[in-house]
Amino acid sequence: MQNEWLYIGLFLAIGVIVPIVPLIASRLLAPRKPNPIKQSTYECGIETVGESWVQFKAQYYIYALVFLVFDVETVFLFPWAIAIGKLPLFAVLEGIIFILILIAGLTFAWRKGLLEWA
């Protein structure tokens, strides 16, 4: 069990090193002649106006809130899904009631108009 996660850890280390190798090769082989025009921001060839690091539209935020509820609660479904063969019918129905509550939440958000792109 520990060996499995040690293996994943080693995999992570090598998996990070492998993409770095071509970058180092590129650093050694590629020409480097920077100038201000080359290093300016590319936005269709027009000169850049204003900051890029700005606050962004809130629609994404509302979707993220709905997502958060679902994502946290679907994780609870995995243990239930594995054990379904061993559970009594009543426990399976309880899981289904849990999903129905989730769907009720989605319906609420839908009726409230949170899922509309405004």
């Binding site: 499995e4 996660w5 040690l6 293996y7 994943i8 080693l10 995999f11 992570l12 090598i14 998996g15 492998v18 993409p19 770095i20 071509p22 970058l23 090769a25 590129s26 082989l29 590629a30 480097r32 002649k33 920077p34 201000p36 080359k38 290093q39 300016s40 921001t41 590319y42 936005e43 850049t48 890029s52 690091w53 962004f56 539209k57 994404y60 979707y63 993220a64 997502f67 679902f70 994502d71 679907t74 994780v75 995995f78 899904a81 594995i82 379904i84 063969g85 559970l87 019918l89 399976v92 899981g95 289904i96 999903i99 129905l100 989730l102 769907i103 989605l106 839908w110 899922l115 792109w117």
Partner: protein, 406 residues
């Protein structure tokens, strides 16, 4: 145990014996043999990625009625190596306003997130990195690293188009991860385990695609969305935001994003095979007969797995080159108002049917029929809804025509 029956363990045991003979501690021997195995798996994955560059260019050419690369080597097979050399000797430009550290980490993380998935890919019954008991969750967790790299690239570029691309990717990811997780729950319910090897072995007699065709559809759609491929390629919509999140990347850093995307698509093709098409197995018990005993060989299984993954990859490519890009509000509405409710209804039906029908002989047919019935109900609902929408749009036009006649 010979090399042909169990190559990985054979080499690992042999190497372990050699290292132990040098007087190493057993923990160190494990780490070194594991490292050698990891390097082999990753190099294998990278070789596939190089091959995929050729496949992608050749197939898109055939879709567009062109020949594709055909000058360098037979059928242009050496072309990807020429591409790599070109990318390495290109000048690497970092824009002035960029956040240099994060800008440089993002492409590495993009490829590393895909390589990490290969730790659990079951290439054959005894050729795989590691068989963890939460493999399905691991797939979702590592997949979101890739999304994080897109966000990092978009934010650190200090470019408005890149930022828009990154935010679209966030919207896609947070939406389509829910049908994705539910689609992963369905093989988990059917097989009763989260280990990919267990899921593969549970399909020895019957592939899960016959038990849950709708689950496969959900997985395919949400995998394409998570890959950011057309029709969900809003994060790099080249006709409006140039190249999206990787607009400022040049040379090998762009190459890493590109290789990561291709390998990710192939890996999802492979997981489609593992979760719904029986993974490396696929003879339905034929290999148990003496005449076909040679089919139960890990190398045969490896070829079968790679073929299935290539077919899955081809389907993803086929969809990419046939579909137009959809608008972001349609994309989100499609997920939240169609895929997510469908996914949860399918999950409830699968759980209930699995519990009620598992001991009976109607298990497979009942599962399949319930899927077909659900699909039919959904199509009917969509049809009546679109009809209502159409009528609602046509109605206000009538009084205007009457007024004109008077």
């Amino acid at each position: 145990m010979t090399f042909w029956n169990d190559p990985i363990n054979f080499i690992a045991n042999w190497l372990g014996g050699v290292f132990a003979g040098w007087g190493m501690a057993s923990g160190l021997v494990y780490v070194i043999t594991a490292l050698i195995g990891i390097v082999v798996i990753i190099l294998f994955a990278m070789a596939i990625a190089i091959f995929l560059v050729w496949v992608e260019r050749k197939v898109v050419a055939r879709f567009q009625d062109r020949l594709g690369p055909n000058r360098i080597g037979p059928f242009g097979l050496i072309q990807p190596f020429a591409d790599i050399i070109k990318l390495i000797i290109k000048e690497d430009i970092t824009p002035d306003g960029a956040d240099k550290l994060i800008f440089n980490i993002a492409p590495v993380m993009s490829l590393a997130s895909v390589i990490l998935i290969w730790a659990i890919v079951p290439l054959a019954s005894n050729i795989y990195g590691v068989d963890i008991n939460v493999a399905v969750l691991y797939l979702v967790a590592v997949g979101s690293f890739g999304t994080l790299s897109v966000i990092m690239a978009g934010w650190a570029s200090n470019n408005k188009y890149a930022l828009i691309g990154a935010f679209r990717m966030v919207a896609t990811m947070i939406s389509y991860e829910i049908p994705m997780v539910v689609a992963l729950l369905i093989p988990t319910i059917l097989s009763g385990t989260m280990s990919v090897k267990g899921i593969t072995e549970a399909q020895t007699n019957l592939w899960f695609v016959f038990l849950s065709p709708l689950g496969l559809l959900l997985f395919l759609i949400s995998a394409i969305a998570e890959l950011g491929r057309s029709p969900f390629d809003l994060n790099e919509a080249e006709s409006e935001i140039v190249a999206g999140f990787h607009i400022e990347y040049t040379g090998m850093k762009f190459g890493l994003f590109y290789a990561g995307e291709l390998l990710h698509a192939f890996t999802f093709g492979g997981f489609m095979a593992v979760l719904f098409f029986g993974g490396y197995g696929g003879f339905f018990g034929l290999e148990k007969m003496t005449a076909f005993g040679w089919l139960a060989n890990p190398f045969v299984e490896l070829v079968i797995f790679l073929l299935k993954a290539l077919i899955g990859y081809w389907v993803i490519m086929w969809i990419k080159y046939s579909m137009p890009r959809i608008r972001i509000d349609f994309m989100l509405a499609f997920n939240w108002k169609f895929l997510t409710p469908l996914a949860f209804v399918l999950l409830m039906i699968t759980a209930l049917m699995d519990k009620l029908l598992a001991p009976t002989q109607f298990y497979a047919s009942g599962m399949f029929l319930s899927n077909v019935l659900l699909a039919w109900i959904v199509i009917e609902l969509l049809r009546s809804f679109s009809k209502r929408e159409r009528l609602a749009k046509e109605k206000p036009a009538e009084p205007v025509i009457q007024a004109a006649q008077h």
